[in-house]
Symmetry: C2
């Protein structure tokens, strides 16, 4: 049985990890930010507990906390303080009403290298300039559901461990491995070249009407799926840079009706993940 | 040249159509609600202007309004008052800062009948219990982009003309025809039976692992796409009711990795729209 410590004083420094969440984690990646990983709600807190990120504390109220603790093995939370508060105290500490009733904080850990996340991977997604946390979160949720093995980030992408991305991903940013290919133009070009050297077929997703149909881009001339695929996606609006597209093997499009708008980025990526999984289903 | 009427008094009754937007249109479908269609931003206001909904007024400020008026033909706005306000006045009237700088109101019109929207349609989506405006909006955006001809609503669905749905759909709820099959259990069953009588192949989308792969559900035994397809989707969480699924020809699934969550409803629908379009591409 896991024992919770009852707390009634919002100013208690033991609650600092989850204080002013709308502020303190707005740029956790920058020096001066706390740099903690924050999970909200039973499902996502559960995934944080099971993740590689070392848990620092769990805070909650009422039945939501009790139910959560009843479902976990004491060993999973060994050495981790669990604080029981009221909904009102949690609201004062976090800075907003946390109706999910449960929040947890964990430490960041050193990121995987590109080589680590590619090891054994057959399908990866590579993001360029994807600066929207909601799109990043949705993409991880969809990637996990459709067997994408890893996510790579080029320049200009939002932090996948930002609280909102963690929440929208339903915790999958804590599970699906990711790595950054950041730095100079040369670093980025070299990163893409290395993917090719490792046998990945590089596919740019673009709304351009002259691009190849997505279904044709993921299979070879005999209709066989490529062994390894890297799907490149850019930000909604600007899309992929021309130099990123030039470094890929093929430009692929999802056909759109005339006079309509391009799809939301995460939706577009989800369709590509689906097509990839579809191309492999007779082969596996 | 379209002339705007300058207004400086937030209490002016001529601005009532766009007053307290967070409140007055929260249930525009109920008696007592204003029942107006509200569009925000140049793109969506433009689509409202071109739609079947009679325009009542356009309100905006600064360059956003000027640019919009410069792009329209005067005949498109004939007889429609255009009010120029400041950003501050618009904020006071609408109840929030409308950074898009442009808003318009239109009247609702009698809805299409089911027979009207099915006339000539090859691909339709049928919603049951989809009570989230954002999902409805995204679905219309995706439907328009991927050549879905109409949307049908069963019981328990959110109002597609609610302001948030209009915005998320990027105005496509104003363009893609929709109709309601509401009422008793019998009405709903009869509605589905009528779709079948009109030659639609009815496909339920479900995460159930024993359902048929989506790609196989949309083609016949010879691999040929069905002439007419109706895709049924239920709310995220509960999904389609068992009696709706029983009334369909086939239950189709998008394969998901074990231990992951089902896809967001609009994403799931987008993948089905993509697969439908994909099945037709060699045929058209």
């Amino acid at each position: 049985m896991i024992e919770a410590i009852k707390m009634s004083e919002p100013a208690d420094p033991r609650l600092d990890d989850i204080r002013d969440l709308n502020h303190s984690d707005s740029r956790p990646d920058l020096p001066g930010g706390k740099g903690l990983v924050i999970a909200e709600g039973s499902l996502v807190v559960g995934r944080l507990v099971e993740s590689r990120f070392p848990l620092r504390c769990v805070v909650g109220f009422g039945k939501k906390l009790a139910d959560f603790l009843a479902e976990r093995e004491p060993s999973e939370l060994a050495g981790v303080p669990v604080y029981e508060v009221t909904r009102e105290v949690l609201k004062q500490v976090a800075g907003f009403d946390m109706h999910r009733g449960l929040v947890a904080a964990a430490e960041r850990v050193p990121e995987f290298s590109v080589a680590q996340v590619l090891d054994g991977a057959r399908t990866v997604v590579v993001c360029e300039g994807v600066n929207d946390h909601e799109n990043i979160g949705s993409m991880f949720r969809n990637a996990a559901g459709m067997e994408v093995d890893a996510v790579l980030f080029g320049n200009g992408c939002a932090d996948p461990l930002y609280r909102r991305a963690v929440r929208v991903s339903m915790g999958h940013v804590l599970r699906t491995p990711f790595a950054h290919i950041e730095g100079s133009y040369t670093t980025w070009q070299r990163g893409l070249a290395e993917l090719q050297e490792q046998g990945f077929h590089l596919v740019s997703l673009t709304p351009h009407p002259q691009a190849v149909h997505l279904a044709d881009a993921l299979v070879d001339a005999d209709g066989q799926p490529y062994e390894k695929i890297a799907l490149l996606v850019g930000a909604e609006g600007p899309g992929l840079s021309e130099h990123a597209m030039r470094a890929t093997d093929v430009r692929a499009r999802i056909p759109m009706a005339p006079g309509t708008d391009s799809l939301n980025l995460a939706t577009c990526a989800a369709i590509a993940f689906y097509e990839r999984q579809r191309s492999l289903r007779r082969v596996k």
